[in-house]
């Protein structure tokens, strides 16, 4: 009887553990390098703790035409952070995998105007994302399609 109980417990906890692992693996499909539809930037999604973040790793126009220096986050509302390099800046922040190919709770930053918007990400296939930025309610927003890029591995 004890043996049967033990096996039942082990199976129960095994199922719970594997669902957590599967959830993690499903969320990690977001990790990679992605390109917005305008092709002006590439964004690398990484995981920090339990959340996902995307930073700019490539810019089509990397140099500021006025200063002739690499672009900085000059529109950041915080004046002390305006000289942070735009290449390397995390424009996607704090995404949590919500299941069903969706990442929620995150924000997207538009370096062109220094504004941060609420954002959801929907993976429509393994190489395509619907990125929806909005203010307040999701209905009032804009969706962009991002495509996955294959990158060299070291």
């Amino acid at each position: 009887m004890k043996k049967i109980l033990f096996i039942a417990f082990a199976a129960f906890f095994g199922t719970i553990l594997s669902s957590f692992v599967n959830q993690d693996a499903a969320g990690d499909r977001l990790i990679g390098v992605w390109e917005p539809s305008n092709g002006r930037a590439r964004v690398k999604v990484e995981k920090i703790g339990a959340k996902y973040y995307g930073k700019i790793v490539w810019l089509k126009e990397a140099v500021d035409p006025v200063t002739k220096q690499p672009k900085t986050d000059k529109n950041n509302p915080d004046p002390n952070l305006q000289n942070a390099p735009l290449k390397g800046y995390r424009m996607l922040k704090d995404f949590v995998y919500a299941g069903k190919d969706e990442w929620t709770e995150g924000t997207i930053y538009d370096p062109l105007n220094g504004s941060t918007y609420s954002c959801t990400i929907k993976m429509t296939d393994k190489n395509s994302l619907e990125i929806r930025g909005y203010i307040g309610v999701s209905a009032l927003g804009r969706t962009d399609i991002w495509k996955r890029l294959e990158v060299k591995k070291k």
Binding site: E46, I48, G49, A50, K51, Y53, K55, V57, T72, P77, D78, P79, N80, L81, N83, A84, P85, K87, G88, Y89, R90, K93, D94, V96, E105, T107, K154
Partner: protein
Amino acid sequence: MKLKFLSIALAAITLFSACNSSDQATEITVSDTFTLEGPLFEGSNPAQLIYPVDIKTLLGDKYHEGVKITDATLASATISSLDSNSLSGITSMVLSVASDNPELKMLELGVINPIKEGSTNAALNPSAEANAGKYFQEKQYYIILDVALAQDLDDNLALKADIKFNLKHN
């Protein structure tokens, strides 16, 4: 009418002062090492520390039951190299905090860009607005140092960090 307005204003100021007078300030230093494991790419590479929040140790004599840290601003952050005498090849650094708590959004605390060639240490410019107070109400959070490299690096990179926070608490 004017007198009523003045009375209300005076009461509000008194209340505000009373609230403020109960606030205490404490400066804490986080000294640790960020290790970036090679190979590292040209551009931004992240290193992170898991920082456990132990309010008793942080506040020392000022700790009391029910104490709550409400504000935490970066006073200074100095990064220096452990492997060599200079930060050669590092072009910029950004310091941030992040948490697993969905309620807490990542905050950039400070930045230095560019880093002078040949510098042995780098003092980050603290954010004017970022308040990490809620991070100190968590059990732990992540401190992230993004290090931008001028070119690929096959080796590991170890950087010593001395990060000072100004805390406000009741």
